[in-house]
Each structure stands twice: as structure tokens, then as C-alpha cells.
Symmetry: C2
Subunit: 213 residues, 2 copies
């Protein structure tokens, strides 16, 4: 099971590492972290460096493609060589997936035209220009294309994918391995549940991230 995980400057770390932690536990999994160039990329606020062991020219196929999000996606939606790579991997993949605003890259690559898709709740309207129908669901499956909502949703997406790939029992064993029995201290993890004050606080934080781009 050959898994390619795209990384790029200013990605959101958990978008990538949530699915990584699940999928690397699949029997026979080999996860490759792939960047436009080999070497370290810094995450959204620059506080973490993670390493692309491969550049895109070195990875020409994968069973599963995972595209994480982050503010760094905005610079990449017009990066034609990267979009061409996404198209090429998708052409041979069994599953093509995204987390958060990673779906903007799938969209920009032309893979979401006519499909339902999701992304971070604050970015849903950015999907429409790509011909996708944005939906407020945590994980959206459209054939082999799976898009997940914001950041932490990649864990749920990857567990679903693990079940498709290896069966329910293996997926459940992975869930137990990462002790994924969530107990959030608050019930404010979706825009439908959070108060307006909390939503405004979150948007102010996201605006700050944009400003520091």
C-alpha cells in the first residue's frame, strides 16, 4: 500500500499528521512525504519543520494520495507543475483524498468538477469556482475522491479509508492503537455548534494567519 502525502510551505501540521498516523498503521503501508522539492518545509506559523523525503519527480504513482491544507494552499492553486503532479498521481491512484483546504488543490487540478466536496468551514465558498458543490459534512466520498473538513477531520477520513482498504476490524484496531475515543472538553467543534462569539474569535485568528502570510 503505497501512500503519497504532499507537503508544502505553510501547511497545517495536523491535516497531514492525522491521516499519516492512521494510514501508516495499515498492513504493508509505506508512506512517502513528497514536496515540490526535497527537504524541510515549515508549517503554517513556521514553528515546526517537517521533511519531504521525496520531490514530485521521484514519486510517479501511489495507491493513496493525501493532500493536506493550510494557508499555503492559496499560493499553490496556480502552481501548474504541482497541479499536473496531482493529476498524474490521481490518474493511477485507488484513492485520492484531501483534508481541509487541501481540497482547493484537488479543485484547482480539475478533480472536483461536478462533485460534492468539503473543506474547512471558513473556506467552503472557495470550492465553487472549481465546479464543486460544497457540502458541510465531515467526510465526503465521491467514488475514489474523498474530501474531509477542517484539520482534525483527517483522522476520521483516514479511519474510513482504512476500513475501505483493509476492512472494518483492521480499521478498528488502528482506532484502538491511537486510542481514538474523543472526549473534547467543549462541544464547539463545528460552526453549527459554536456560539457566534466563538466563531468570531476563530475568524479573527484565521484573519491574523492570512495577514502574516
Amino acid at each position: 500500500m503505497d501512500i503519497a502525502l504532499l507537503v508544502f510551505p505553510r501547511l497545517t501540521a495536523l491535516d497531514a499528521i492525522g491521516p499519516y498516523e492512521v494510514l501508516q498503521r495499515l498492513p504493508g503501508a509505506q508512506v512517502r512525504f513528497v514536496g515540490a522539492e526535497r527537504g524541510m518545509v515549515r508549517t503554517e506559523q513556521g514553528m515546526l519543520g517537517i521533511v519531504a523525503d521525496y520531490d514530485t519527480s521521484e514519486v510517479t504513482s501511489a495507491d493513496i494520495l493525501v493532500v493536506p491544507g493550510g494557508i499555503g494552499t492559496r499560493a499553490l492553486v496556480s502552481h501548474e507543475p504541482l497541479l499536473e503532479w496531482i493529476r498524474a498521481i490521481d490518474a493511477g491512484s485507488t484513492w485520492t483524498t484531501s483534508v481541509c483546504t487541501g481540497s482547493l488543490l484537488l479543485g484547482a487540478a480539475g478533480l472536483l468538477a461536478g462533485l460534492k466536496a468539503t473543506t474547512h468551514w471558513a473556506a467552503l465558498d472557495l470550492l465553487e469556482p472549481y465546479g464543486a458543490t460544497p457540502v458541510s459534512e465531515r467526510v465526503v466520498e465521491q467514488g475514489k475522491i474523498i474530501t474531509a473538513a477542517g484539520v482534525s477531520s483527517g483522522i476520521d477520513m483516514a479511519l474510513r479509508l482504512a476500513a475501505h482498504v483493509a476492512g472494518d476490524e483492521i480499521a478498528q484496531a488502528i482506532q484502538l492503537g491511537i486510542e481514538y475515543d474523543p472526549q473534547p472538553p467543549f462541544d464547539s467543534g463545528s460552526v453549527a455548534k459554536a456560539t457566534e462569539a466563538v466563531r468570531n474569535l476563530t475568524l479573527a485568528g484565521l484573519a491574523h494567519e492570512d495577514a502574516t502570510r
Copy 2:
């Protein structure tokens, strides 16, 4: 808010990145990834490299210490210089925390004696030699020491900690920012809920990880 996050060879990626993704969103947060030496460490199965920007000699204090787990902890419970660093950071910290088997390092440093603590469910009995009382709870708070259960529990721990540090509304805004509205496809994330067959599959996987150490 100065946050030190310890990294080491064969850590579990999500143990570190779950709390990172939450805590880096605290107002004024500065997260430093700290290793015994500067440079890249590889995670549990070697498929991911993450970067320690600082070595322990460069980080002499922190408001919050986060110690993740992973099979790599087993080699570190007798690494006296590292344990001495943990003690020194704890001496000046406001909060000292662990995820998964990171609590074994807090224990080996002598910080859990007489306290209740938790860790990954498959490692609970390893806490007793350090004078801790193992408990099967997702997050265990004992004064300024907070230990979390396996892998994904670090997200819940960090949201609780965010509320302590910055108040409930900020913590809720962070939860919404990472869209943490978990929808696991199965209810097998704790040893109390998983079937025996699933538990055995998980343990076989963990044994395999040990074997490849």
C-alpha cells in the same frame, strides 16, 4: 506563552502534533521543538522526519512542557541528561504535560511519584515502577502535571490546557479552528469498547513495532 515540545527518535507523530496544533493557536504562543540534539528525528516507523530546531542546552525554561510518547521512550527512561532536562524545565514550568508513553519519561524523571497518571492503555503497568498510580482516564490532572492517554488524547488534553491558560472561549475558538467535531466511524477507540479480536489485532501490531525497534 513559551511552549517546549520534546522530540526524539521513534516518537509517535500524532502524540506531538495533536497538542502542537492546539497550543500554537494560543494567543502569543511560541512553540519550540527541542531534541537531545538539533536536527531531524524520524518517527516510530521511520516514514516521517520532523525537525528539532533547538537542543536541550538551548532551552532552559518554558511555561508549558509537552512530552510525547512512542516506542522511542523506552531507550530514554535511562537517559539521565534528558531526564535532568525534564526536571529542570518542570522546576520552572506552569504546566508539565505528557501524551501516551511520554508519561514514562515524566515518571523516570521522578515527577509522578505519589500521583495518579495515565498513558497508552497497553502501557499502563509500566507507570507503577515510578511510584505513580495508573488510571484509565483520557486526561489526568494532578496540580500542574497533566498526563494524557494514547496518541490522539493529546488533542483533548491540549484543549483542556488551552482553557486553563486562556479561558474557555479561546479554547472553544481553537476547537472550532481545527474543526474538532469528532465523528469516528467506529466506537472502538478505548480498550473498554473494542472487541477482544480487535484488541488482539492492535496488540499484534504493537508487538510488531517492538520487534522492529
